[in-house]
């Protein structure tokens, strides 16, 4: 037997005005799940504890709760000492029981055609991965868009694409899904990462539906403009000042005389090239100081992310071919990105690449960096969705930041700039940005650090604190170090 002390959220609408966390200590068997701890509390300490469960084997989706903030199925998640068990972020009925029905009822259902069309194997194969949803609503609990705008949510979008792919269904699911908020998804990936059935809703549902919407002429006008710009210029933003690529040579040699630590191709991305070139130049300084040789082919174009996220796939293959060929022809074996969106796209949406993609945070932590001066600054870090969830990079940026400033954490939530939302749904983007501004305020940090041009650009509009890229703050650390030496 093991002894576990846990905190459980308690709230009885008949008696309480607000919920509270209560500590319980129970005995449990080795390998016990969160659900078994709840059973132990209910059976031996407090029978009034309300929680929902049924199958006990991860197949009915009744028992989802948040453990230490993360939605999980209580019956499958291993119980840990010190864990905090709270309800999903939905209307709480009592204790851990939330109102699931409002969201489940809103999920669409198949309306059969008059005559039966039996789906073919390839159609079944396309639908199957979308079918294992158990409507536990973990995804809805974490969806930022649903908090600030009208959006039926990830589970409902998953169902719309499932129906859209089914020849037996008689309705126009594309138009329905647009009405239900298809374009409000920021592609933050939070829904997918908490899904107990690992259903890739952003890629397999949202982006697919948006591609179908594109074929029906339902793409948002602002997104169409972006696609037209990419088609015309190879870039998703317009030139307003000298670009990064215009300011640097094709090869940047490391400072000093030693052998380069490594040679990297650099994929700069539209935003750092044309909106935040100064930041990209800071990054080059940090890399050169740390002994990297950087190759920067000038023919590189947009990675295609703004088109993929918005379902506009016409010229995607052309962009991909061009980018791959650009780096391949130079014999580059590692291509570094510093834009989280480009990195995620190159890693996840490009197939069979002849080179490896590494984010700049991975590069700097893998090879190690010269210690910068520690600046007397308290900083908070905003996890870019496409870095944290798109590339699974969480620790590396923190490791770098702690070398130069003090870090105070805040929850990892989307800032609202992704998925075409900033351009297509500016009010929603602003609402999410505002919340991020409030989160930043709460940390009491002096500055905000991030590692994505979209996040940096967007958050800067919603906080009074300076927003800096990781490499910029590292460069400040180096400058301070040099100043002290003099």
């Amino acid at each position: 037997m093991i002894r576990l002390s846990v905190m459980v959220y308690r709230f009885d609408p008949a008696m309480d005005t607000r919920g509270r966390l209560v500590q319980y200590t129970v005995e449990a068997n080795e390998g016990a799940r969160v659900l078994h701890v709840l059973h132990a509390i209910h059976d031996s300490i407090d029978q009034t504890l309300s929680y929902r469960y049924c199958c006990g084997s991860g197949q009915c989706g009744s028992c989802a709760v948040r453990v230490n903030g993360e939605p999980v199925l209580a019956c499958m998640e291993e119980a840990r000492d010190g864990m905090v068990i709270e309800p999903l972020k939905l209307a709480v009925k009592k204790d851990l029981v939330v109102d699931l029905m409002q969201n489940i009822d809103a999920i669409a259902f198949l309306v059969p055609r008059a005559e039966l069309v039996f789906p073919a194997k390839d159609e079944i194969d396309a639908i199957k991965p979308l079918r294992s949803c158990i409507e536990c609503l973990c995804c809805i609990s974490v969806c930022p868009a649903m908090d600030v705008t009208k959006f039926l949510g990830p589970a409902a979008m998953r169902q719309e694409i499932r129906l859209a792919l089914d020849p037996r269904d008689s309705r126009d699911r594309i138009t329905d899904s647009v009405k239900e908020g298809l374009f409000t998804c920021t592609s933050c990936q939070a829904c997918w990462k908490v899904c107990p059935k690992n259903i890739e809703i952003p890629g397999k549902a949202i982006e697919k539906l948006r591609a179908f919407a594109n074929k029906k002429g339902l793409t948002l006008p602002r997104h169409q403009e972006v696609a037209a710009l990419v088609k015309e210029t190879g870039r998703s933003v317009t030139r307003i000042e000298p670009t990064f690529l215009e300011q640097v040579g094709e090869v940047l040699e490391p400072y000093g005389t030693g052998i380069p630590k490594a040679t990297m191709g650099f994929f700069v991305g539209c935003m750092y090239n044309m909106r935040l070139p100064k930041t990209a130049l800071d990054a080059m300084e940090v890399l050169r100081r740390n002994g990297f040789r950087i190759i920067i082919p000038k023919e590189q174009v947009c990675c295609g992310s703004p088109l993929i996220r918005t379902g506009q796939l016409d010229i995607l293959d052309t962009l991909k071919r061009k980018n791959i060929e650009t780096f391949r022809s130079r014999g580059i074996d590692t291509v570094m990105t510093m834009c989280a969106g480009c990195g995620s796209t190159l890693k996840n949406d490009y197939k069979n690449l002849p080179f490896t993609i590494m984010d700049i945070n991975e590069v700097l932590t893998k090879y190690g960096i010269e210690q910068p001066a520690h600046l007397p600054i308290r900083a908070t870090y905003h996890d870019p969705c496409h870095l944290l969830r798109g590339q699974g990079i969480r620790e590396q940026p923190r490791q770098l930041i702690r070398q130069v400033v003090d870090l105070v954490e805040m929850p990892a939530i989307c800032c609202g700039s992704g998925g075409g939302v900033k351009s297509g749904m500016p009010d929603e983007a602003a609402a999410l940005g505002k919340r991020r501004g409030e989160d930043i305020q709460k940390t009491g940090a002096d500055i905000v650090i991030s590692s994505c041009p979209f996040c940096e650009f967007h958050i800067a509009g919603h906080t009074d604190r300076p927003v800096k890229n990781i490499t910029s703050i590292l460069l400040e650390g180096y400058k301070e170090k040099d100043k002290k030496r003099q």
């Binding site: 029978q47 009034t48 009915c60 073919a120 079944i124």
Partner: protein
């Protein structure tokens, strides 16, 4: 609240019945859980038996089912099952079910135990979930009122006739629903055993509720122990490891590495019927050839990885969560109480012995005899769910008079719980252990009698509800005690080993085909065992 048809239970049978009944009038579907999440259908993994190929036939499906059921099945019900199962499969497909298909776009089928043709249709190893999702989608488009998280505590009667039910809503308030006809689709009850595959709702409520109202139950001693339940972690013991694992080629080995099914059924090996495989595993474990966690090995490591990933994704995911990668290491399994073959005596239209009361799915008896074939339960839910829903729907509209004394009695029962003194969890625990030890896979009269005595002494009438919201737990535990009693009594009524029911204290010369006995029966007013007509 009044309606034409009241359906109690929201698993595969209940929802199917509600769908069908809605053609005839207003239907109320009442669920202890959330519709689509409760019952055992969403957890059913392996498949749905239906004759779909020319090489197969309903005659063979009938024979397999009768033989598997040790010839205790009601042949007329079995004929209906095999004949209508393909039609009900068509319904599901029409409504959007996503079953696996073959390269030539036909519903794929795999072999299951005790069947001479691979006739088990499947959606990976989440077949029941696929069906349930489809049924709930269908239900959404129909004018059926659902009462979720509402616990029926007893049926309402107007003299002999059932006229609805009284229930507790989620806050514990007593409500009544009158109906021209009532369908019990409350599923099974193997939660009365310590080790069980059932969901939290498999507590035998329907058997108890129907019994108290006076309906007759048959063959309640016939409890299927599924051969393969998980043994680790301890708190999740009994969790179903689908027969599809063996259907796909999984092999059983004892701790010495011996493929022991050779000793017990060399012909059918791992794909013998469930009663045989469960007893073989139990014997191996009892003889000390089990693992230290008290199981035997079930091994699929010789199968291609893609086959495991595509055909057994839920198994793969569940075992990975518990630290076992079934692609490279064997599972540990042991028998677990799974399904109750017995239940309400029904006609072909799903009528019970009480006027106004219908039943379908696992709450009924007769379809599966003494041992159910894997894949026949999901088919049963659809075939007899439709039949019961249809018959209930076609019944006449009537004027219903609730006898106020019934409501008074219920209020008294509930107020006793509020003033009670024993934790229902404690009583449930004692009951489950007693049943596992004394009424499990191997039975004898002494153990059955002492188990019965133990249950009788459990303080089922002195259970404590700490608040109104806890009243339903007390009712559930009372139902568990009554269901367990019925199982033990029925087991004593059958003086033979037959199918899943093994009496180690009785030797007899006959086999299943020549047994002189037919159904056991039990109700308020009578109990006994039927003799077979001359064979």
């Amino acid at each position: 609240m009044d309606c034409h048809v009241l359906v109690i239970g929201s698993g595969g049978a209940g929802v199917r019945a509600a769908i069908e009944a809605s053609t005839y009038g207003d239907v109320v579907l009442i669920s202890k859980t959330i519709v689509g999440k409760g019952g055992c259908t969403p957890m059913a993994e392996g498949g749905y038996n239906a004759v779909l190929r020319e090489q197969d036939s309903c005659g063979i499906h009938f024979e397999d089912t009768m033989k598997g059921g040790a010839f205790l099945n009601d042949p007329e019900l079995v004929k209906i099952l095999v004949a209508e199962s393909p039609q009900r499969m068509d319904d599901l497909i029409r409504w959007g079910a996503v079953f696996d298909v073959t390269a030539d776009n036909k519903v794929a089928q795999r072999p299951f135990g005790g069947q001479r043709f691979p006739r088990t249709c499947y959606a990976g190893d989440r077949t029941g979930h696929e069906m349930m999702t489809t049924l709930v989608e269908r239900l959404k488009g129909l004018p059926v009122e659902t009462l979720a998280e509402t616990t029926v505590i007893d049926l309402l009667k107007d003299s002999d006739r059932v006229i609805g039910a009284c229930a507790l809503d989620e806050k514990g308030d007593l409500i009544t629903i009158t109906a021209d006809s009532t369908v019990l689709a409350t599923g099974g009850g193997t939660r009365v055993f310590d080790i069980s595959t059932n969901s939290a709702s498999g507590t035998g409520d329907g058997y108890a509720i129907g019994y108290r109202a006076g309906a007759e139950l048959i063959d309640m001693e016939m409890v299927q122990f599924h051969p393969t339940g998980a043994v680790f972690p301890y708190d999740a013991r009994g969790r179903l490891v689908t027969e599809a694992v063996r259907g796909e080629g999984g092999i059983l080995k004892n701790v010495l590495g011996e493929r022991f099914m050779k000793q017990y059924d060399p012909e059918r090996m791992e794909l013998s019927t469930r009663d045989v495989v469960a007893r073989s595993i139990a014997t191996e474990i009892n003889k000390g050839r089990g693992t230290k966690n008290g199981g035997v090995y079930l091994d699929v490591t010789h199968l291609p990885r893609e086959q495991i990933e595509n055909r057994l994704p839920v198994m793969l995911e569940q075992f990975l969560t518990f630290g076992v990668d079934i692609r490279i290491e064997p599972m540990e399994v042991a028998p677990t109480a799974h399904h109750i073959m017995g239940g309400f005596r029904i006609t072909q239209r799903g009528e019970t012995t009480l006027p106004g009361l219908f039943a379908c799915g696992e709450s009924t008896g007769g379809v599966h005899g003494a041992n159910r074939l894997g894949g026949n339960a999901l088919a049963d839910t659809q075939v007899f769910g439709k039949r019961a829903g249809e018959a209930a729907g076609m019944s006449e509209k009537r004027i219903k008079n609730i006898d106020p004394r019934q409501i008074v009695a219920q209020r008294e029962r509930l107020s006793r719980f509020l003033n009670g003194s024993v934790s229902p969890a404690v009583v449930a625990r004692e009951l489950q252990l007693a049943m596992w030890i004394g009424a499990g896979i191997f039975r004898n009269a002494n153990d059955l009698r002492s188990t019965l005595a133990k249950i009788m002494h459990l303080p089922a009438s002195d259970l404590k509800a700490v608040s109104e919201r806890n009243l339903s737990e007390c009712c559930t535990v009372q139902n568990m005690c009554l269901t367990a009693t019925i199982i033990c009594k029925s087991a004593l009524l059958r003086p033979e080993s037959r199918g899943a029911h093994v009496r180690t204290d009785i030797c007899h010369a006959w086999d299943a085909a020549t047994s002189p006995f037919a159904h056991t029966y039990i109700s308020h007013s009578r109990e006994g065992i039927e003799r077979r007509a001359t064979l």
